[in-house]
């Protein structure tokens, strides 16, 4: 799909949200205050949700807003405030300039290699016809085509995930419980 055929409106929004996401992410890793960092991350996630919608993944976009930005990040903020970590001055948490430079260099190297790897040819036989997903969604709605494979092909994985969630809940409760003093027998 060449984006020359795509409306400028679409391309503009895609780039807009992508650039805002990256800018927010940079802000996120550079903010000293954990609360500010978390809020910038939420912003990144909103942008990503918008990109999902642009990429024909409307349902995933909604999930992104509800689950990631709405639930997971709220829990993060909750913990930050619970532990009273909101004051940036308390923490000398970023490493020194040397380390930052080395980390930046490593990051660039990683980026270069990831780009190099994307040169790999993909088997043409697997590629769907253009706009196949979008036309399918128009016909059946955005949820049914996802639910089909989820509850048929990937049913085992789905069930295993539910067990994983249960284990996580139990684990979180056990870990978070205040350890009682050893009683006399």
């Amino acid at each position: 799909m060449t984006y020359n055929e795509l409306p400028l409106f679409y391309v503009f929004h895609f780039y807009f949200f992508g650039i805002v996401a990256i800018a927010s992410a940079i802000a996120f890793v550079t903010r000293k205050s954990p609360v500010a960092a978390a809020l910038w991350l939420v912003n990144t996630m909103f942008c990503l949700a918008a990109m999902y919608v642009l990429l024909d993944a409307q349902f995933i976009g909604a999930m992104q807003v509800l689950v990631y930005a709405g639930a997971i990040m709220v829990v993060f903020l909750f913990v930050i405030m619970l532990l009273n970590l909101g004051h940036a001055s308390d923490l000398a948490d970023a490493r020194g300039m040397t380390w930052k430079l080395v980390a930046g260099f490593l990051g660039l190297a990683l980026l270069a290699q990831v780009f190099a790897i994307t040169r790999a040819r993909v088997p043409e036989a697997l590629v769907l016809p253009e706009n196949a997903l979008a036309t399918q969604f128009v016909r059946t709605g955005a949820i049914a085509p996802l639910a089909g494979p989820l509850f048929n092909e990937y049913l085992l994985a789905f069930e295993v995930t539910s067990v994983l969630l249960l284990a996580a809940v139990v684990g979180a409760v056990v870990l978070g419980k205040r350890r009682e003093r050893t009683r006399a027998h």
């Binding site: 490593l106 990683l110 290699q113 190099a116 790897i117």
Partner: protein
């Protein structure tokens, strides 16, 4: 997705096969039933592991007195069949508490397997126009790696069908025999668990649709053989025999693995069907590559089927229970090598030099083992060397391109050798029981201690004679037809018409090798007749040498043991009818040959340059006549020269001398191997690896470190280099191990960069 697609394609392909929808669809159940038996018997064995054996007779005793009716009956039965175990000075005989259940499961699953195999056989016979392509059932993709596509698949064709019938049929009989033979053994369920597992692996070996699946079965039967040889592992000799079998077989398996690697590297597939299709066009006829593949494969066969130079484990394998010797070390497992050569006929027929090697090794083994068999006193050792010798015959057959003859001898041998082993088991059982009653500790397997047993065990005597006549090649018994066909096959292929005769082996013309093998085969046949008659004469004829008190306790075995013997006796007598030669049309001629045609026909024709071998009647009569004369002469010579009357029990018999002594000591091959292989390895391990590397180098370094620590007290002394280096390495290691999560994250990212770099700059 891709895998599913492949599986669908396979199924679509199978859908066109005439066998789909018939009983053959249940092919997987045939090996699965013995596996089920293994699991059940194994569980019974594990459950009872803490209270088996003579150490705990009290529990059973109490239960019997407490009015437990079922237990009391079992107990009564045990003493009954044990012939009254009271009053002997040995441990009291206590039947295993799960013995009844095991006796039902163990042989039961095998019988079901056999019936299923018969049903599949009937389905195969029922296909109009015959089954020409193998019926392949693919269960799942086992190793889909890169270009390598290996499915866990079974292949049903005429050869695997025949092997399946032999394994389950003879296997069932031997299982039933075992019920009697092992009745008082404390490890009863364990025994049947191993035996069932063996049958499972053996079926996997013959049903596998590609070399890796075959190899799993190949290794599995080796494992079960090891477990069963060392079944009475509390005696060191038995455990050692198991280890010897296992280690010697590893040498052969190495060859088979190399052959598989070479096949995959050059043909890109390991499926039998794929290789059969690709081999003639992609491999050069008589080329170095296909010859090397076949020779490596034959190394595997020589290990599993006990050929020179790897035969040494089989005689020692007689340390296991006798039914095991019958099933594993005579009828089925040791013939796996023959099966493999017949199965790989599409490769061997392309490599005349490799085939000549097979023929020559087979012929040499046949004569070599037969000479040793002439002077053995242990009844099972005679049969063991006889088995080695007969396996040599089979290799002469399959090696010379007479695949049908080799497989035919495999089948008849399974009948008469199983009968001989079970018969000897019955004899040993009787001898052992007699000795057990009187507290005698003599060797119950030595023929010098037997003699005149025909008065006490008439059924066994008659049946053993049938088997002896069959193995000696007396006309109209099964062995006559199969042995004659092998000898005739190798003789006829020595003529100009075969690729073998035109080939050269180390500069020697193939014709000479084949004629030599024929002569060796005839000589071995003569000796076979002599040593088998000798065994019968010393065991069953002449005066009884067991001793006065023991004589009264000699008796025929129970029906569970004689029943299978009778069936095998019938098969040994009439087994030759399965493949009658055209000269002796007593019934339908060449049934087995027609049956195996779709599997081995192409390879056999390639060996004979495309035209079936036709011998003139005079030549054929001469060949048959020679074989008959040889057999009769051997038996007659044994009767004339051997005097069982003059034999004395083992304890009083004199030392052998001269060549007899060399034979009795098996040509000192074990001693030579010990000197040439075992002792150098042990010496190297001890002298170099232990004293040199371990004690000298590694411990030496540690000592240096300790010294340097001591030297710290005296400043100015030089610290030894070894200690410093060790300390430096240790310091670096301890710095890396900081406990800081951040550090670990850094190391992780650097590692990721390296891995990605490996992809990028590939």
């Amino acid at each position: 997705m891709l895998l599913q697609h492949a599986a669908d394609a396979v199924q679509a392909g199978a859908g066109a096969h005439p066998l789909s929808g018939t009983a053959a669809e249940y092919l997987w159940l045939v090996p699965l039933l013995p596996l089920l038996g293994f699991v059940l018997n194994g569980l019974l064995s594990l459950v009872s592991a803490y209270r088996v054996g003579p150490a705990d007779p009290g529990a059973d005793h109490d239960a019997a007195h407490g009015g437990g009716h079922a237990v009391a009956t079992t107990h009564g039965h045990a003493t009954d069949s044990g012939g009254g175990a009271h009053g002997d000075d040995h441990h009291p005989v206590v039947r295993h508490r799960f013995a009844t259940l095991t006796s039902i499961i163990g042989p039961g699953v095998l019988a079901l397997s056999f019936f299923l195999a018969v049903a599949i056989f009937a389905a195969m016979r029922g296909v109009g126009g015959g089954v020409h392509a193998p019926f392949i059932q693919s269960y799942f993709a086992w190793m889909p790696v890169g270009d390598l596509r290996i499915n866990a698949a079974f292949q049903l064709d005429q050869l695997s069908m025949l092997m399946m019938l032999i394994i389950t049929g003879v296997g069932t009989l031997i299982h039933i025999f075992s019920v009697g033979y092992m009745q008082d053994d404390p490890g009863y369920p364990r025994y049947f668990a191993y035996l069932n597992l063996f049958v499972f692996f053996m079926l996997m070996l013959v049903l596998g649709a590609n070399y890796p699946v075959l190899f799993v079965g190949w290794e599995g039967v080796g494992l079960c053989s090891y477990l069963l040889i060392g079944f009475w592992f509390s005696e060191k000799a038995n455990a050692d025999a198991g280890k010897k079998a296992f280690i010697v077989n590893r040498i052969g398996d190495f060859g088979l693995l190399i052959a598989m690697f070479m096949l995959f590297a050059n043909l890109g597939t390991l499926d039998f069907v794929g290789i059969a299709a690709a081999a003639p066009s992609q491999l050069v006829f008589g080329g170095a590559l296909v010859t090397a593949i076949c020779l490596f494969m034959f190394l595997g066969c020589a290990g599993k089927s006990a050929q020179i130079p790897l035969y040494v484990w089989l005689p020692d394998a007689m340390a296991g229970p006798t039914p095991v010797s019958a099933l594993i070390h005579a009828a089925t497992m040791v013939t796996a090598g023959v099966y493999l050569v017949a199965r790989s006929n599409f490769l061997f027929s392309l490599a005349p030099a490799a085939e000549l090697t097979v023929v020559l090794v087979g012929a040499l083994t046949a004569i070599f083992a037969a000479t040793i068999g002439l002077k053995q006193w242990d009844i099972k050792k005679v049969l063991a060397y006889s088995t080695v010798s007969q396996l040599g015959y089979m290799f002469v057959g399959v090696g010379s391109g007479a695949y049908v003859a080799g497989v035919f001898h495999l089948m008849t041998h399974a009948f008469f050798k199983a009968l001989l082993f079970l018969g000897s088991g019955s004899v040993i059982f009787a001898m052992h029981r007699a000795y057990h009653h009187t507290g005698n500790h003599d060797d119950a397997q030595d023929m010098r201690n037997m003699g005149g047993l025909k008065q006490y065990m008439r059924t066994t005597w008659i049946l053993m004679w049938i088997a002896t006549l069959a193995i000696a090649g007396v006309p109209f018994f099964s062995g006559f037809f199969s042995k004659d066909e092998i000898l005739g096959g190798v003789f006829l292929r020595a003529s100009e018409h075969s690729t073998l005769a035109q080939a050269h082996w180390l500069g020697i013309p193939g014709t000479a090798i084949l004629y030599l093998s024929y002569a060796l085969g005839l000589a071995a046949a003569f000796m076979t007749a002599v040593y088998m008659t000798r065994m019968m004469l010393y065991t069953f004829h002449g005066p009884n040498r067991t001793g006065e008190r023991e004589r009264g306790h000699l008796a025929e075995a129970p029906w569970t043991m004689t029943g299978p013997l009778v069936i095998l006796g019938v098969l040994s007598a009439v087994g030759g009818w399965f493949n009658l030669p055209a000269l002796i049309p007593l019934g339908p001629v060449g049934v087995l040959e027609h049956w195996l045609e779709p599997v081995v026909g192409e390879g056999a024709l390639r060996v004979t340059n495309g035209a079936p071998i036709e011998a003139t009647h005079s030549v054929e009569y001469a060949l048959i006549g020679a074989a008959v004369v040889i057999a009769i002469a051997g038996i007659a010579l044994a009767f004339a020269r051997l005097k069982p009357d003059r034999l004395v029990p083992k304890a009083q018999s004199p030392e052998e001398h001269g060549f007899e002594r060399v034979l009795a000591n098996k040509y000192y091959v074990d001693e030579a191997y010990d000197k040439a292989v075992v002792q150098p390895v042990v010496a190297t391990s001890r002298g170099l690896l232990w004293r040199g590397v371990d004690v000298g180098l590694i411990d030496g370094l540690t000592r240096l470190i300790v010294q340097s620590k001591d030297d710290d007290a005296a400043p100015g002394t030089t610290v030894p280099m070894g200690g410093l280096a060790a300390r430096a390495v240790g310091w670096v290691g301890s710095q890396v191990q900081s406990g800081q999560v951040g550090t670990y994250a850094w190391v992780l990212v650097v590692g990721v960069l390296f891995v990605l770099g490996a992809f990028t700059f590939r």
